[in-house]
Assembly symmetry: C2
Homo-oligomer: 413 residues x 2
């Protein structure tokens, strides 16, 4: 099993990104998802909040504690919060000090805003030539939509995510997630780490841009260009996915998910459902022919599954080496033994307004690192919770901290 | 604008991951998505295919050229292919030589298979202590489902992706993408880069595990735990997303996507639709109250959009600073000026069976790196296309290459 050897003096794992400092001026979802991954891997993520705070503190569902909405809690754990008014001289003074100490700067501001706040890559590189400056944009700079405000639903509608739902459902719908924000946030975390690796070779930082629309469209089209790849009149949309029976299949008492893609799995599946004669049916004989006859293939699956209970089918299919698992509702998912056993879903303690401890359900980093490990998890920060601490680390004395407090840099406590 | 200064001798950008070598034994989607990101950032990704080839060569839609399905082409560009029978002595001999030269090994084999093929982290670290060994698993090792075969649809059904569709549509459905494969592939690429950064500090590689189920469940629950975060009986599912009107909105001539989350956007939106009196409606006065009254808020949006054409609304809303964009079908997306202008969607040249050049539609890396840049794009490899070349690089002479060819290591040409 996996064991951690890279530990702090108190025996805690440090994480693969220990020693990396990230300045995060983003809010809502896309940026916070990116920096969450870095924070969970041991980076010191300083969440720089404007005087009004990250919108997600209020937008992310009813909070138990003011400014601590559920979604805010789940996207901002393991980060530190400082309040900076970057429009004020005091805020810029603190920011300049932070830039000198940082490896990464992340924002989703538009170029004009970065310019007016003095947060361009050029301005930061003058202070710290090794900084990696990541801009998460709606639309790539230089294109006709550059600078147009983008939110997840707008990107879903424009990038083909909603169109794929229309292919299946007959009308455009959004995915039931903040899908493109969430997806592009992970892409940004990957691009940032790639740029940090590039820095090891070149010795200098760089500006990187991660555009939401282009990433979302590439995500959709890589799966669904299909015959349009070759033929200007070719059909788009993977028929194995845009298929009425490509869904959890109804059983006598619920739903089951079955997957039988290889020839061996196909043969085992037809044996399992008592239709061995279909093994020799030319429509299903090869992967290529099953792709052509996917509707018939999936229809036979759907019909067969209705005949028994989910538990019966899982047992029978497992015995025949056909991949199959039951379907989880959101409720039943929470009781899943694998999920609970993995430690990804855990009972955390959060202090309520009166400082009393109340338990809450929290999430943890799902991946494992045998040597560097995953650092102990900390709850999402209160608004400005670490302002004092960070100002002190930057070498601001007590008098300076008093001067700064409430004038652009605020502990907000 | 972004300019590249880190170039090869022929003036090509090298990419942030130049100099990183990745051994990729994965197939289908999750692994190839992970190594695609690394390949596009300049890593030398060696795709090690079994004698039967990556299943996606046949599963990914009707090919123009045998073994080159559309989806295979889009998930495997910029990689090199060698055919190795890892069950044969010759295959292992070549693999050992490759491991000595590599930074990263990626597989989605189960522990038993890694063991029997001698591909465990321990075995590789004995040859190369700096190797980062990434296993993309269905379910985390140590849990009750460890080793159970997992495919995207099974993970979608089990992790709550299908359940979120049930919340909106009344019945479980899959997202119209290979969503969890695609998502976890990006997560794996990020975890690999994080581990490579950790290696810079510790001096040694490590084994990392990226489990699909746990990552997909964390993705779903971070958005939808909602009140269940605090209260064992609390409601799950973000009501702003699980909402009948959270979709592209019908206009007189099509669909539009509108987003108005801040107070300023709310006020501007009510002005834009000629309902200024609603600005003072207590149900909509704050972010928090709009979250509570989201159904009413979204219903007003939906009703208003029916009154004009998409173009009229986009112009009016843009004028009022309300984020809005038209909805794209898969067809209209291909003609989008931003997407075409970005170079993400491009006309490539592919040789057909007779060696004649035919144009095809290809995708490119969407992100930008001001210093290291994005290397020139290469088409996905033919089966075993680079076998000879790679064997020669490893120092196998002509005689040895002949001995190996067709006996575990095959140029397949």
């Amino acid at each position: 099993m996996i064991t951690t050897t890279d530990k702090t003096s108190d025996g805690e794992p440090r994480g693969p990104l220990a020693g990396i400092r990230v300045l995060d001026t983003t809010g809502v979802v896309v940026g916070p998802v990116a920096t969450l991954m870095l924070a969970e891997q041991g980076a010191d993520v300083i969440k720089i909040e404007p005087p009004e705070g990250d919108l997600m503190r209020r937008l992310g569902g009813r909070p138990r504690k003011p400014g601590m909405s559920p979604k805010f809690l789940h996207f901002n754990r393991n980060k530190r919060s400082i309040v900076l008014d970057l429009k004020s001289d005091e805020g810029r003074e603190v920011m300049a000090r932070l830039v000198a100490t940082a490896d990464v700067f992340v924002s989703n501001m538009r170029p004009r805003a970065l310019q007016s706040l003095g947060l361009t890559f050029a301005a930061m590189a003058a202070i710290n030539p090794r900084i990696v400056h990541c801009t998460i944009s709606g639309f790539a700079i230089g294109g006709p939509y550059a600078g147009v405000p983008a939110y997840d639903t707008i990107i879903q509608g424009l990038s083909g995510v909603a169109a794929c739902h229309a292919e299946v459902l007959g009308e455009p719908r959004f995915a039931p997630f903040v899908l493109t924000d969430h997806l592009v946030g992970i892409v940004a975390a990957q691009a940032i780490c790639a740029a940090l690796l590039g820095r090891q070779r070149t010795g200098v930082g760089e500006a990187i841009e991660v555009p939401m629309f282009e990433n979302a469209a590439a995500f959709v089209l890589s799966e669904h260009l299909d015959q349009r790849t070759f033929d200007p009149d070719g059909h788009m949309g993977d028929p194995r996915i845009m298929n009425p029976d490509a869904r959890p299949l109804q059983t006598q008492d619920g739903y089951i998910c079955v997957s039988a893609n290889t020839d061996a799995q196909m043969r085992a599946f037809f044996d399992a459902i008592g239709r061995p004669e279909l093994k020799d049916d030319p429509r299903f004989a090869s992967v290529a022919s099953r792709v052509v006859h996917v509707r018939a293939y999936f229809a036979i699956r759907a019909e067969a599954m209705r005949e028994r209970t989910t538990a019966e089918w899982v047992e029978i299919l497992r015995r025949h080496d056909v991949p199959a698992m039951p379907y989880h509702t959101l409720q039943s998912l929470l009781d899943d033994p694998q999920l609970r056993g993995s430690g990804v879903l855990t009972n955390e303690i959060q202090n309520n307004e009166d400082g009393q401890e109340e338990s809450m359900l929290g999430l943890r980093h799902p991946n494992r690192y045998s040597n560097t490990g995953v650092p102990a998890s900390r709850l999402a920060p209160r608004f400005g919770e670490h302002g004092e601490e960070i100002l002190a680390e930057l070498g601001f004395g007590a008098d300076e901290r008093r001067r700064l407090a409430g004038r652009g840099a605020d502990a907000a406590e």
